[in-house]
């Protein structure tokens, strides 16, 4: 049972890393960004490629992958997302989905369709009671908590964070002070994208990577963001872990239903939640 709980938290952590960017982009730009999954997947594949080049030094390859994806995320933001400002949602969904399609096909083309496993970089276990817990998973969960706290500090203390918080509420007010709101939203877009890549990289040793991995996590992430509230950072944190736990527990009881149960939970939440998603 303990192993299941740790697994639930681990999945929750990964979901959190991925969903943050989605939630922020929706909160700041009102755009549902399918291309987020492309940045995630390509980032992971780059990581897998860099790993052997860097002698298997995991943190180095991870850092390099995150850094390498920043220009890619920038291109997506500059040429796709920015063109979607003010457009109706449908076009945003279609355009960003198109980017995801292109990215996935490129992955298949460059790296092939075979799944790519990655070894657990820590490989050590700690004994809690009768269970051997992978230290690696504990690290993953701790990282998610650290990022959550870090983001809270960022949005509360840093000037960029404050500008974004202000702009989320009163965009015109910020503009009338002479600040280019789009520039700051772009910055947080890059942050969100980098966190997604980080999440993917952390996930790579836990589950094998394959070209459609972006699609799979994207669907669950949508559930996370809807349940947690689009643009609500604390809500995203909580719902990511709750849904991660749902996946883990369902996987234990009725394995094939694991991912799908998340949508059942989302449906239940939708039926009872009557606040900001409503007309």
């Amino acid at each position: 049972m303990l192993a299941t709980i740790v697994y639930g938290f681990t999945i929750g952590a990964i979901l959190y890393f991925f969903s943050i960017g989605l939630s922020i982009t929706f909160g700041t730009l009102q755009i549902v960004n399918f291309a987020h999954a492309m940045v995630y997947a390509v980032g992971v594949y780059l990581f897998i490629t860099f790993l052997p080049w860097l002698g298997g030094v995991y943190p180095l390859a991870a850092a390099l992958a995150v850094v390498a994806m920043i220009p890619v995320a920038y291109v997506v933001e500059r040429f796709i997302i920015r063109r979607l400002y003010g457009e109706s949602l449908d076009y945003a969904i279609i355009a960003t989905y198109a980017v995801l399609l292109i990215g996935t096909d490129l992955i298949k083309w460059i790296w092939g369709t075979l799944p790519q496993p990655v070894r657990d970089p820590v490989g050590a276990y700690i004994q809690v009671g009768e269970v051997d817990l992978p230290v690696y998973r504990v690290i993953v969960v701790a990282s998610a908590v650290a990022v959550f706290l870090g983001l809270r500090v960022f949005f509360k203390r840093s000037i960029i964070g404050k500008i974004v918080v202000a702009a989320l509420e009163d965009r015109d007010g910020v503009r009338c002070l002479g600040l280019n709101v789009n520039k700051y939203f772009s910055i947080v877009f890059l942050i969100g994208s980098s966190l997604a890549v980080l999440g993917g990289v952390l996930y790579a040793p836990i589950a094998t990577s394959e070209p459609y991995m972006g699609f799979h996590i994207l669907l669950v992430a949508f559930a996370v963001v809807i349940v947690g509230g689009m643009g609500n950072l604390t809500g995203t944190f909580i719902s990511a872990f709750v849904l991660g736990m749902v996946i883990a527990i369902t996987a234990r009881l009725w394995s094939p239903a694991a991912d799908t149960m998340v949508f059942v939970v989302m449906a239940i939440v939708l039926i009872f939640k009557r606040s900001d998603t409503q007309e």
Partner: protein
Amino acid sequence: MSAKPTISESSPSGAKKGRVLLELALIAACFLVMAIFVRLYWVVDFCIFCILVLSFDLLYGYMGRLTFGHVLYYGTGGYVASLVLVHLSPNPFLAIAVGVASGTLIAVVLGSILVRLRDAPFALSNLAFNQIGFWLANAGLQDYTEGEDGLSSMAESIGFLDFTSQPVAFGFMLVCMLLVFWLLRTFTLSPYGVMVRSIKENEERVKFLGYSTYFYKWLTFVVCGSLATFAGTLYALYYGFVAPNLLNPFGNIEIIFAVLIGGAGNLFGALAGGVVFKLMSNYLATAISRWELLMGVLLLILVFRFKRGLTGYAIDLRLRISRRRAAEEA
């Protein structure tokens, strides 16, 4: 808003009916011509797909709601119809009836919850239910649906209606498609259609006037779901085989693509888009290996350059020609 003639002020109903009949005849003629030049079974496929696209366009183009989970109904129709044929009776009409009823029921229930939602949550929540349906077909209800292996079925012939005969099947599907087109044409020209379009333009104003927009949104959702289910039952009857991929949520993108190509909010656009998309995917999928890459690029071009699709382009062209003519006459 500029002064537009209200529905009651436009052409008297006799002339209207005549016009619709003419349109139907024209469409039938186009499809028959296509059937001569293109493989017949492709054109049957066009008909079924066009019904699906029409059902989607009512919700997306006319009412302005994007759902990313429409194929849930398509697949439901396919599977329920197949199950009826296999377990209950080989009567195709029973299969269609039960199939459509089941899809409608699902739309009634889901619609009541989902229609309250706005843009993104609406689109994604539909996607979530689609995903649940997909999983049910693949794994959850595997004992009934045969999971990945797919479900085969066989419909009996009723009179001359033999689905194994290509020309007969084609005739039947064409008639079905024309029927759906006529139904939607009547809907959109009726006060109901005005209501739906008004909701797209300015829902607050409609609510202000005292209408329950919830009811009309729900009704539209149910109609669209039913029609998509209908398309699914036809699929099952024609191919005699359904697989979980029918419910794959990413199949929704094909429908959206078709609607964009043809031009949203226009029934002719839905037909045109459906046909063009199917033609493209049939020819290109065999010719080009990186088909998904191409589709992604085409989608991007469509969204950023040709938002209004073929019909939008056609309307612009007509405007330009008439303006030029007016300038020449001046």
